[in-house]
Symmetry: C2
Amino acid sequence: MRNVLHAKCVTCGKIYDAAPGLTNCTCGGILDIIYDYDYIKSHLSKADLAGRQEHTMWRYREMLPVEDCTELPPLRVGWSPLYQAGRLASQLGIRQLYIKDDGINPTASLKDRASAMAVAKAREAGAKVIACSSTGNAASSLAGNAAAAGLKTYIFVPSRAPKGKVAQLMAFGATVISVQGSYEDTFALSKAAIDRWGWYNRNAAINPYLSEGKKTVGLEIMEQLQWVVPDYIAISVGDGCTIAGLWKGLKDLYAIGFIDRLPRLISAQAEGCCPLNRAIKTGEDWRPMAENTLADSIAVGVPRNADKALLAIRESNGLAVNVSDQEIMDAQKLLGRTCGVFGEPAGVAGTAGLKKLCEQGKIPANATAVSVVTGNGLKDVANAIASCGEPVSIPSDMDQLLKAFAERGIPLE
Amino acid sequence: MRNVLHAKCVTCGKIYDAAPGLTNCTCGGILDIIYDYDYIKSHLSKADLAGRQEHTMWRYREMLPVEDCTELPPLRVGWSPLYQAGRLASQLGIRQLYIKDDGINPTASLKDRASAMAVAKAREAGAKVIACSSTGNAASSLAGNAAAAGLKTYIFVPSRAPKGKVAQLMAFGATVISVQGSYEDTFALSKAAIDRWGWYNRNAAINPYLSEGKKTVGLEIMEQLQWVVPDYIAISVGDGCTIAGLWKGLKDLYAIGFIDRLPRLISAQAEGCCPLNRAIKTGEDWRPMAENTLADSIAVGVPRNADKALLAIRESNGLAVNVSDQEIMDAQKLLGRTCGVFGEPAGVAGTAGLKKLCEQGKIPANATAVSVVTGNGLKDVANAIASCGEPVSIPSDMDQLLKAFAERGIPLE
């Protein structure tokens, strides 16, 4: 990889060759992929990108850690739409808001970006089996992307994972182990199994390439905004890998001169599970928490990528905001009604956080913000119905329809 | 609309001006939009398309019945991926197979193509309210596309509609009437309400523009195949609007000389509800049937677009194939495992039908086929789990993992 210099431990600074099977540093720290920005600058321009017909995450191949000869995975991942959300911006009282809908990815979440990278790197490593633990979306995205590429998967999910995600896993033919316990318990068993059988490791906090897949969401946002940097980018935070990846992408663009400043990140966590935001607010080290939220994807009491995530939030002079489950479900409805975007609970936590900060007067009225919706609402239908309610149920009869409308105060022109 | 001549009844041939609020002919027949193909030929070339950065259904605007000044709806609909499915082709014993995954549309089904068109035409008509009846996907797609455009929706679904589709409707803020009865009962009540209140009508068998939205799936398939016509295109059939739309797109391309022959259509219906395929096989008129299939989207006992659908299948020298619920669910797993594509039951019926025809020796081994997956499996999780099974459930313990693997005969390298 001529664009990559090496991998470097974020904790101790130790340098590693960028081999495809990299995991954590011997000190336990997480590795970061370090690029030769001069090389990238001399091989990629904004005009190059503007002319490309490859509308996937791989349009940024000069900025990604894959060999030139690597066969890319089959599913079409990335280049999700960025919608201008004027009505929602007005409601929140800010100048402009954009919604990045990553729920339209092939397996319906942002995690496809990391899983596609995992499949590419597993192919480079000559692996035939990939494994991971996941709250659900990393799992279903790995299962789908690997199935399309003809690779076998072993997947560990906590037993609380919503049915939609489990259904995907089973349909994609993964071997799925539902662990009776927390995400931390699930992670532990997956690690023991991966160590024992030597499977390719798709755990995003261990395999340093996965953040590089996730960073493409940041690259896309900036290109879709024609390189005009927003003031804020809001995103939900669980393990910490996604916000770290987003930040990496933005910093890469800054390093190669495609953008001239950096936005402030908004880290949204659930009130019932916010170890990273607590660390930001107190300035202390992060400590484990219980996993008390219906937003299953971000119910991570022991975040595995705390170091990179905290670094990202702090470097960006970011804001940490905790949202209640009720605020999350309200944001789901708000996005659906004003934007036609249906996000899963964790997927809309960023929007919930942005809304809360606006209400608290912490976002100036002339601000431009982006909110990333990280997963599709169809992943967790039970919570959506509990929140949004059931439809009017009647026989096929006009009198009954009139009566039902009148009872519910539904106005008819 | 300089590209449109008029609308014409497929039953009696009566001609109508192409006003945005068109419904059925006075004779009860369905209208078809008739184009000025010379105009289109002089305004659109293959090279024009190849250079376009608009990767949505609207890239074919010269072939679509919208005014130049019409503001297009906000959600990014169409340009779904066409995957080359080499391993599945080998399993079926044909030369090449492509899977068109329309489940990645904004509300996760092909119906977004028709609903986006409905929103565009409702705007032309100055309407503020749109209504429809639907087995579920037309409903959720209308609700999402209309919400994004700031339009109100009244939606009628049969009470059997799967929870995923209902959850979408509620999240998008539609007024939803769940009708205790069949799809036919649902359609009847929606018609009465639309007549009473004068809402803009998104029922695809009544509003002739909607097939024109759906035809974009055919336009895309051909452009993605670089205008090399496949031998077969397989698709599931319920109301008949989708296969009719697909055929319209192919015929349009033939008329303007972009393709030099036409493929044969494969009409896949459920054994328990196959009024159109029965008509094809017997050569008689279609007659109503019960709605006995778990593939809810195509459980349509009284198909509302029978005329256009039968015409399409017959004109293409098409094949009609009925599939059992078991064959549908087997196809769901097969697509998931070999392609990483997770389709809803009705969405994979086309693949099930193609597979059955291959097994019956009705498709030659040197054939190239396309199978359209019309909706995402996340729409109906209950049936997927019933079919694909539940995961291994254990505590976080290596001995238990070894035991579980051994019991299930899971081989480990």
